[in-house]
């Protein structure tokens, strides 16, 4: 059967993502959890995986890493801000950092 040419790319990206996650977690646990948007339990698990387990997880035709939690509306606002002042990266960074993994409140949030 003919496989999709992108499957290899996905597998490579999965493995690269897992390896990066492990290196980040090894260097600074809290900072890595912030960058990766994962909780303590997931951090613990990812850090503990050995090479064989990593390879097994990476070998799938679907991506392991996901969008950093912004909704379509949020992404659209960053990508097509009609009043863009060259603050696009900053905006994306701020939106990702705005989202709590614990709870999500509206309006006055703190």
């Amino acid at each position: 059967m003919q496989t999709n040419p992108h499957v290899d790319e996905i597998r490579e990206l999965n493995l690269a993502y897992l390896l990066l996650a492990q290196r980040l977690l090894g260097a600074d646990r809290a900072e890595a959890m912030f960058r990766l948007k994962i909780d303590e339990e997931m951090a613990e698990l990812l850090a503990s995986l050995d090479a064989r387990q990593l390879a097994r997880l990476a070998n799938t035709n679907q991506l392991l890493c996901h969008f950093g939690g912004e909704s379509v509306d949020q992404l659209r606002q960053v990508a097509d801000n009609p009043r863009d002042q060259g603050l696009g990266h900053f905006h994306a960074s701020l939106l990702m950092a705005s989202r709590s993994m614990l709870s999500e409140g509206g309006g006055h949030v703190g």
Partner: protein, 188 residues
């Protein structure tokens, strides 16, 4: 003095050094460590090679609400909250890590670190004394620094809706005009 307090003191010195390296003023160090003022001044001189600047810290919340400072402050404060609330960092640990992460983003954008470390610290203190709050932008749903008790509905942030004069400071205009000058000189 017990062994524990020596270790404790070492930790305090390390914290002070980190803060000084990141640009802390003396008042920050005096509040956040138990080290004596004299020792802090000595430490400051050794780390920075100069005497600590004198004078009072900025004491108004208004600066954090002005356009560009608000964007920088909001990014920093969101990171700080994530590290403290979601990832279990202690207060000063979260503060230092968040400030480094903020500087990192600024460096990616090749932008100026509008929010200095001492400002970032006063920002945290203003939140702790309930003088500031985070308001959610109705358009991008990002969380932005605002005066405490300010109305939150219909709030739109300074990125989604920059003020009409945003980015048109005298300095910016001068920078925009500057690149053409050398070229003109070459042609002459």
């Amino acid at each position: 003095m017990s062994a524990k307090s020596l270790l404790d003191e070492l930790e305090q010195v390390q914290l002070a050094i980190e803060l000084i390296e990141l640009g802390a003023r003396l008042q920050v160090l005096e509040t956040e460590t138990d080290l004596s003022r004299a020792r802090l001044i000595r430490l400051f001189k050794e780390v920075r090679g100069m005497s600590p600047p004198k004078g009072m810290l900025p004491f108004s919340t208004d600066w954090f609400i002005t356009w560009m400072p608000n964007i920088h402050s909001s990014l920093f404060y969101n990171i700080y909250r994530r590290l403290g609330e979601d990832h279990g960092c202690a207060r000063m640990e979260a503060f230092i890590k968040a400030y480094r992460l903020y500087l990192e983003q600024v460096a990616i954008d090749d932008a100026e670190a509008v929010l200095g470390l001492t400002r970032a610290w006063t920002l945290v203190r203003f939140f702790e004394s309930d003088q500031l709050q985070l308001s959610e932008c109705g358009r991008c749903h990002g969380h932005f620094v605002a005066h405490a008790h300010s109305p939150t509905h219909d709030y739109v942030c300074g990125i989604c809706q920059p003020p009409s004069r945003a980015g048109k400071t005298r300095k910016r205009r001068a920078e925009a005009a500057a690149p053409s000058a050398p070229r003109a000189a070459r042609h002459a």
